[in-house]
């Protein structure tokens, strides 16, 4: 579908737009459900009025202070993981090239644990996670570099780094005192419980900057998926595009891990789900971000309500939901 105005023209894929709209509706539905339900049920109309600041004081307290920060953090973190996964899967031309498989998330965990053990505040832990992610990314990139970086080399080096860092993380936990180990352990499964606006803000800021950047480089990145020479022949500055994309992807996964801990599987599954839903060739940025947001908030909702009053960490559920759905889609692909 093409829209032309004068010499301007924009090409749109109707199915991708439809899927995008459906995902937004779904995200809204999950958000309302998460705001309305819980130990104290707020009727949906009251939720809506509370969101617009005209509800009863009780509803505003529960919706605005207790539940909204958690849901919003979930939406933002999910979107950041989804987008980061899309970027790295495109760069490595490999579904396994997601940040949670090539060591970036594990590196962020290492940074986070060190901060926890050092007795840091929430902000220090977030900073540690972000630093850990960036340092790991730089090391993996440097080790995989051989006059440019081949996707499969990045994946292989990353998987090695991932294994190493997981071992380091376990070691750090055994050396920590029991209280630190417990709180670090909780953070390590990935959780949205008790997240406030302080957690949401950095992720929102990162997305505000990096979502447009990713959208801008997504066109040349799609060309690079055909091979470096093919892309260069089309006039794409491959190394420059790749550098921007890597920086965006690392920051997104670092900021997301800082906010919610290393929630696994969203970065892996969201781009794959999005690609199959939109049926577009290659990786899609916008749809991956939306899918990530829906996936994480839906998983968090289920984690809170399924075994209530027992609260599961969301990381347990993302693996279960994302994994099952992905397995179903892969099964369908074969026919």
């Amino acid at each position: 579908m093409t829209i032309r105005v004068g010499s301007w023209s924009v090409r749109l894929a109707p199915r991708a737009l439809l899927v995008g709209a459906a995902l937004i509706v779904l995200a809204c539905a999950v958000t309302v459900a998460a705001l309305a339900t819980g130990e104290y049920t707020v009727p949906v109309p009251d939720v809506v009025t509370a969101v617009f600041g005209q509800g009863t004081p009780v509803a505003e307290m529960i919706v605005g202070k207790l539940r909204a920060p958690r849901v919003v953090t979930g939406l933002l973190v999910g979107a950041a993981f989804g987008l980061s996964g899309a970027i790295f899967q495109s760069l490595t031309r490999n579904p396994l090239g997601s940040p949670d498989f090539i060591g970036f998330t594990a590196g962020a965990s290492t940074g986070g644990i060190i901060a926890v053990v050092a007795g840091g505040s929430a902000m220090t832990i977030a900073g540690g996670a972000l630093a850990g992610c960036v340092v790991t990314a730089v090391l993996v990139y440097a080790l995989a570099y051989r006059g440019g970086v081949q996707g499969y080399r990045l994946v292989l080096v990353g998987i090695g780094a991932n294994a190493l860092l997981l071992a380091v993380n376990s070691y750090l936990l055994t050396r920590a005192n029991i209280n630190d180990a417990a709180s670090a352990g909780a953070w390590l499964t990935g959780s949205l419980s008790g997240r406030g606006w302080d957690h949401a803000r950095p992720v929102a800021l990162a997305l505000a900057v990096l979502l447009p950047v990713s959208a801008y480089v997504s066109r040349p990145m799609r060309m690079i998926e055909m091979g470096d020479d093919a892309a260069r022949a089309m006039g794409i500055r491959v190394e420059a595009v790749r550098a921007v994309a890597i920086a965006a992807g690392v920051l997104l996964s670092g900021v997301a891990t800082a906010a919610a801990g290393p929630v696994i599987f969203v970065a892996l599954a969201a781009p794959q789900l999005a690609r199959r839903l939109t049926r577009s060739p290659g990786v899609t940025m916008g749809a991956s971000a939306l899918t990530g947001a829906v996936l994480l908030t839906a998983a968090d909702l289920a984690a809170q309500r399924l075994l209530a009053p027992t609260q599961l960490p969301v990381g347990v559920l993302t693996a279960a939901i994302g994994g099952t759905y992905l397995a179903l889609l892969l099964r369908k692909d074969r026919h």
Binding site: G227, G235, R275
Partner: protein
């Protein structure tokens, strides 16, 4: 008679040329002090034994490989000094191997050839539409438009990649071994298509393996060995039994191709089945 490698010979117009090129991967120098000019509107074929540097030279001409010394010139400017997209509107390349994106249709892949002509707010102009349908018609893939590229045969797929390069609408088109991995009928199909494109006014440069095919289709032959250009010119002037022996270590007889009157290399047989006349 082999013409000497042209050092900007004034009688031959050439938009694309390389001067004093030293080409190397990491520490391994493939070619040193290479001078080459691609005659305008020629069908130039670069040929030579394995590892003679023919693909390396083509990649340097297509700015895929930065020369250690010397420079490639396009329309009088050093090619790396020109904006990358600007070069892509004048010079196209079909790489030896490209990766087919998962689940892409023929029409979508061909449309990607328009990238150098597009901008953020000009994603699909009428010129893009026309170029794509013309490229698909020229390569005879119009009927395959909605098919998934992964599901096509090797020959069809190569035609689709060619269509993508054509949609780029560049006056110069470089092809790195476009017939490798194809069976003989598809090889001829692709080369005939290249000949048509050449006749339509494009400058074509191809790296080929088969000397007889090179002789048939080339209007200008560049023969390489060990990183050097050994001979250059029209096939019938250049290809001699001595040259073939010198370049390919092959004893042969050269006869006239009964179809095209171009040189046809007949390798000397080790054992003769029937006595020759």
């Amino acid at each position: 008679m082999a013409t000497a490698p042209a050092k900007g010979s004034p009688q031959m117009a050439s938009r694309l040329s390389g001067t004093s090129l030293t080409l190397a991967y990491d520490q391994r120098v493939v070619a040193a002090d290479l001078n080459v000019s691609i005659p305008d509107e020629s069908f130039t074929v670069i040929i030579g034994p394995n590892a003679c540097g023919k693909s390396t030279l083509l990649r340097a001409l297509a700015r895929m490989l930065k020369p250690r010394t010397g420079a490639v010139h396009l329309d009088g400017s050093v090619i790396t000094a020109l904006p990358s997209k600007e070069v892509a509107r004048r010079l196209g390349l079909l790489p030896q191997t490209s990766i087919v994106p998962d689940g892409i249709t023929v029409a979508d892949l061909v449309a990607r050839g328009r990238y150098p002509h597009q901008r953020l707010m000009r994603q699909w102009s009428r010129a893009d539409e026309r170029a794509v349908s013309e490229a698909m018609r020229a390569t005879d893939v119009t009927e395959l438009g909605d098919r998934i590229v992964d599901e096509l045969s090797g020959g069809q797929r190569q035609r689709v990649w060619l269509a993508m390069a054509l949609a780029q609408e560049t006056p110069i088109l470089l092809l790195d071994e476009p017939t490798t991995f194809l069976d003989i009928s598809h090889q001829i199909e692709v080369l005939d298509l290249c000949a048509d494109l050449h006749e339509a006014g494009r400058t074509m440069v191809a790296v080929l393996h088969d000397l007889n095919q090179a002789c048939r289709y080339a209007t200008h032959l560049i023969v390489m060995r060990g990183g050097e250009i050994v001979a250059e010119g029209e096939p019938r002037d250049v290809v001699t039994p001595e040259l073939v022996r010198q370049v390919f270590d092959l004893r042969c007889e050269i006869i006239q191709d009964p179809q095209t009157a171009t040189p046809l290399i007949v390798p000397e047989a080790r054992r003769r089945v029937t006595a020759s006349a």
